[in-house]
Point group: C2
Chain length 682, copies 2
């Protein structure tokens, strides 16, 4: 019997995938072979437009098991996204559009960067939250301008990672019925049979999370059953759906069902027998039957009509609801509301001392009112992070009685990593969402995996990271960050703001909100800080500036956050001894490094010794200073004041080190550490 067009399509997808891996002699053929029928069936149901891959009301597809990317690329080629067979031939080669894991910046049609396991499914939860929130905010009777779904493939590895547990538990709580996940139950991971480490009952676990479970017993061949399952999933209300796909890794390969087929190219013989089994010429390569091309093209035509219908609907919407229509239009164009930052809080030295977390609360209260696309939350530290705008409603299923889906405040629970990955999903959904999440600075580290991906894939999420030093006091060293800022400052494309007062907090928020192509961490104090005489929003936006000028300084102190005011006090102490000390506030390394060298050298010039002062690890501060005063040990439990005193982060402690630095460098010629011998090569 001749294969059906769907069977032929699946064979074509399988063929392109294994040929790509074979061309690269590197990659993962196993999952594409097993998942091709599911991918085909799901994409037949999806709304998308390859010539407008960012169409707002498209369905989103997330490949959480990103190593299976040959599968996704094959689909993108067949559907004629901006990706061709030539690109497949460059699979995993430098500068190709088909990198070894899906990268959202490299390949049109890739929604989100995946590969690190557990992230994609958690991103998908974020996308589903964003869609729900958008729909609840803007949809009107007869005007469902947003009703897209999120489809996500994931493997055993994703299910084992804790980040996916966090996000999946929250997805169940939030009753996200716009999310359909497909578990590739192939019983194989890199170490071999999942029997060796992963014998839990996944469907029961997801049921416990509040998900609806469906199963397809033969997802290797039964395209119709997969298709039916999707139809059924789309009908489920108030629950995300997990569809268990029983598959065989490397289906059809001589090595099927073994981990040998997971991450290594197939042998030449195996490729040949596979192609024969599909009815292809055994020597064919990247073969696309014409009827398959046509079949995929038809689907695209039908999808395009759906987009046209949506455009019409949206156009009518804008007429009938001009206010909302204009707002949606603005958001889809990626523009900010006019004048949004005009009235952001600013301060003078006469204003009272306030903790920067409290100042942050004031800014969030303000931003909430002027930026409707601002949506945030906290990992169960709302009262400590002060992240909940007074006027906000919780994002909750209405049936809970605790909020509704148009709410813009998310109760993440104690799930920092999940929160980070969900924020990436919200950010990637589109509609210009600006999203933030609160936790203690030290526990942003739990989310390192997600934060790194935000930076890599240019997602402008914002971490409101309070309790940023030993200044948090009694909770002790398990809660006191030491290495944390060094870690984050070393991540490319990440802003790490540590504001010293109210104006600097406002600047940090302006930069973070405007920084749609990079994540930002805002490190904020638990304790009060004074408003500084020379601070300004405008200067702070440069990432570093003179916060305490001095004529012909004997020493320059570079500092950040809570240590800036103490450093200024040290400068005042030393002034009494006729020692001239200037203080530079480095609010964000990333932004400061972008300033012209001339500007930076004016602040940190040749000929003056520079001392850095920050009550965290000194690691990295030598790029701005000759000497470093910091905390290269873990903190301690005690009253904040006692801790600062014990570690000598007092005006006297700083002054003592300042004097020793001046003494040491007396008569020595010092060069500014800003110089680079090969700047042009960087």
């Amino acid at each position: 019997m001749a294969p059906s067009i769907d069977e032929l399509s699946v064979s074509t997808i399988r063929g392109l995938s294994v040929d790509a891996v074979n061309a690269a002699q590197s990659g993962h053929p196993g999952a594409p072979l097993g998942l091709a029928p599911a991918a085909h069936a799901v994409w037949r149901k999806m709304r998308f437009n390859p010539s407008d891959p960012k169409w707002f009301n498209r369905d989103r597809f997330v490949l959480s098991n990103g190593h299976a990317c040959a599968l996704l690329y094959s689909l993108l080629v067949l559907y004629k996204y901006e990706l061709t067979v030539e690109d497949l031939k460059q699979f995993r080669q430098l500068h190709s559009k088909t990198p070894g894991h899906p990268e959202r910046l490299d390949t049109p049609g890739v929604e989100v960067t995946t590969g690190p396991l557990g992230q994609g499914i958690s991103n998908a939860v974020g996308m589903a939250i964003a869609q729900k929130q958008f729909a609840a905010t803007y949809n009107k009777p007869d005007f469902p301008i947003s009703d897209s779904k999120v489809f996500c493939f994931l493997g055993d590895g994703c299910l084992m990672e804790g980040v996916s547990s966090e996000a999946s538990s929250l997805a169940g709580h939030l009753q996200l019925d716009n999310l359909i996940a497909f578990w590739d139950d192939n019983r194989i991971s890199i170490d071999g049979d999942t029997a060796c480490a992963f014998t839990e009952n996944v469907p029961e676990r997801y049921k416990a999370y509040g998900w609806h479970i469906l199963e397809v017993q033969d997802a290797n061949t039964d395209i119709q059953a997969i298709s039916d399952a999707v139809d059924e999933a789309l009908k489920i209300k108030n629950k995300p759906v997990l569809i268990r796909l029983v598959t065989t890794i490397g289906y059809g390969s001589l090595a099927q069902g073994t981990h040998g087929v997971h991450g290594a190219p197939l042998k030449a013989d195996d490729l040949k027998q596979l192609k024969r089994s599909w009815g292809f010429d055994e020597n064919s390569n990247f073969y696309i039957p014409n009827e398959v091309s046509d079949y995929f093209a038809e689907k695209v035509e039908s999808n395009k009509k759906e987009q046209q219908a949506w455009e019409k609907l949206f156009s009518e919407y804008k007429e009938k609801y001009p206010k909302e229509g204009a707002e949606v239009q603005r958001r889809l164009e990626g523009k900010f509301p006019e004048g949004w930052k005009d009235n952001i809080p600013s301060f003078t030295a006469k204003d009272k001392a306030i903790a920067t977390r409290k100042l942050s609360e004031g800014v969030l209260d303000y931003l909430y009112g002027v930026i409707p696309e601002l949506i945030g939350g906290s990992a169960d530290l709302t009262g400590s992070n002060l992240t909940r705008p007074e006027a906000s409603t919780d994002f909750q299923p209405p049936s809970t009685g605790l909020g509704n889906y148009s709410g813009r405040y998310i109760r993440y629970g104690v799930r920092e990593h999940g929160m980070g990955a969900i924020m990436n999903g919200i950010d990637t959904f589109g509609a210009h969402y600006r999203t933030y999440g609160g936790t203690f600075l030290n526990f942003v580290s739990y989310a390192a995996g997600a934060l790194r991906l935000s930076a890599l894939s240019h997602q402008g999420v914002i971490w409101v990271a309070t309790h940023d030093s030993i200044g948090l006091g009694e909770d002790g060293p398990t809660h006191q960050p030491i290495e944390t800022l060094a870690h984050f400052r070393a991540i490319p494309n990440l802003s790490v703001w540590r504001p010293a007062d109210g104006n600097e907090v406002s600047a940090a928020y302006i930069a973070a909100i405007e920084g749609t192509d990079h994540p930002s961490v805002l490190a904020l104090t638990r304790q009060n800080l004074p408003q500084l005489e020379h601070s300004s929003i405008e200067n702070a936006l440069k990432g570093g500036y003179s916060i305490w000028p001095a004529e012909k300084p004997d020493l320059i102190i570079v500092s950040s956050g809570s240590e800036v005011s103490t450093s200024i006090d040290a400068a005042k102490l030393l002034a009494e001894k006729k020692v001239s000390v200037a203080v530079v506030s480095i609010v964000d390394f990333f932004t400061f490094d972008k300033q012209p060298l001339e500007y930076r050298l004016k602040l940190l010039p040749d000929g003056v010794p520079i001392l850095s002062v920050e009550v965290l690890s000194t690691f990295g501060w030598s790029k701005y200073s000759h000497e470093q005063f910091g905390l290269n040990r873990f903190g301690a439990s005690g009253k904040a004041a006692d801790l600062f005193k014990f570690f000598e982060f007092t005006p006297e402690g700083i002054a003592k080190r300042a004097e020793k630095t001046i003494e040491f460098y007396k008569g020595k010629k010092v060069l500014s550490p800003l110089h680079s011998a090969f700047e042009e090569l960087k």
Copy 2:
């Protein structure tokens, strides 16, 4: 009716806990009030000896909800560990023995440092693994020299964290029936009612993991029911047990059942009414009724007899099984097998080029044979990390047919964070376990929360972190570490070895295995590296040494790992131009920084410009160099050779930068970056 002695004991525990929080005017009274009956009931069942808190066959108690530490400290005081009411009065004060979260180094009787949520329960899984492995290895018929249990309290926060999901899933798979966990189901977290973010069915989830579930419906008062549940749990075979304790946070307080009682001291009136309700004088403070003291002392006496019986048993064991007995004795004394490192692999420049991950495999094969307390595994990357000694057996429940409990190779599954926390548990169990876990370097970051605790609490676990740079090639930027080493090097008390060849790999292992008081990360290559002419184990153990000497060098290159040989090749290129370049291999910052300044200054002296070369973030390298060549951007997917060429990490690319550095510093007086103006204050 007069309260029973158990009720009186519970009131006493509650009283001490709230008085401690009140004295500090800081801390968490809610959980201790709710959990005191459970803590009391469990400790009545436990074997332990306050005057020998490290007795090997004691039962272990882990407070995963570490913020409830006032509860634990109260028990330790009542059982007369080295902790008194005076210490309770110093709760959360600087340098006290009663810090804000339990710290294993500060307080006798605290098994493990907790506070960061989700860690303790995962540590408990590690302890249970260690106990099982020890028992299976050494117990003999009629000689159960190890039969201790692990009891762990945890709260909703711990259950929400992904790390606990990872560890709990593995615990179910491993059928750890020596682990009994108690869930404080008080329905309150910091954000308020758990209804706002945590509505999953926890018992069903744990059932899905393979745990046995028990419930106590009134754990506020029903001490007997808790006690019965423990008895029942102790009878369960082949499953860890989760006992759900339905409690009221802040039980008895006027604010009971609200998050107001979670993290703030009780009001004076509330304290008074509580004490009256217990039948105490309302003005009493840190009150311990004599009959309670006696009751606890009796338990200790009975426990001491158990220890004496065990000592007798062990003594007979040593007679009957002298070989095993001597080995156990040695391990309990914390000594290494004699001559264990005598035959560790060493290399000469004539040996062939090998990837350091492969060299690591050779060392592990060797160590497996000579150190019976070595137990390791991988987070589902065994074939890539090369972490499985050839002779090893998997640590598995015998019923799986995949191994047995005396196995020393753990299949962690894709659970890096869980693995990190489990390793801490294995390490803390005692019996001198030396434990390692493998994953890609980039994914050690998933476990940042656990790694930081290893460093803080001096746990000598070892990360075998392979694929340590863009040298991993095609998997691309999601898998290529950039900031990772900067992050780890900034963590106090952590060794980060990045060996350049075989001798340096052996040195790294010697240091890591001997480093029982600090964790170690071993960053290893996927790609082959040549054996270096001037490398030696002895020198590498200093953390940094001259790997390519040069007379009167014009420039010194400091480098690590895979870039050392390329830097030497650059030096050779430059020698042809009569430019003299020395190369220093910095194998581990932590170890190098401990060397005498004199030694370090000999390597990095005044008067010579220094260039660092490492294909990762340059962040932090300025502490050893004037100029830095690194990768301050994310990597790319492509063949490793193409990537190194594109980023110019070639002899030519390094030589170019070396020449520019020499040119820039010509005529300028350079100081060694090792100088410190206030070393004595550090």
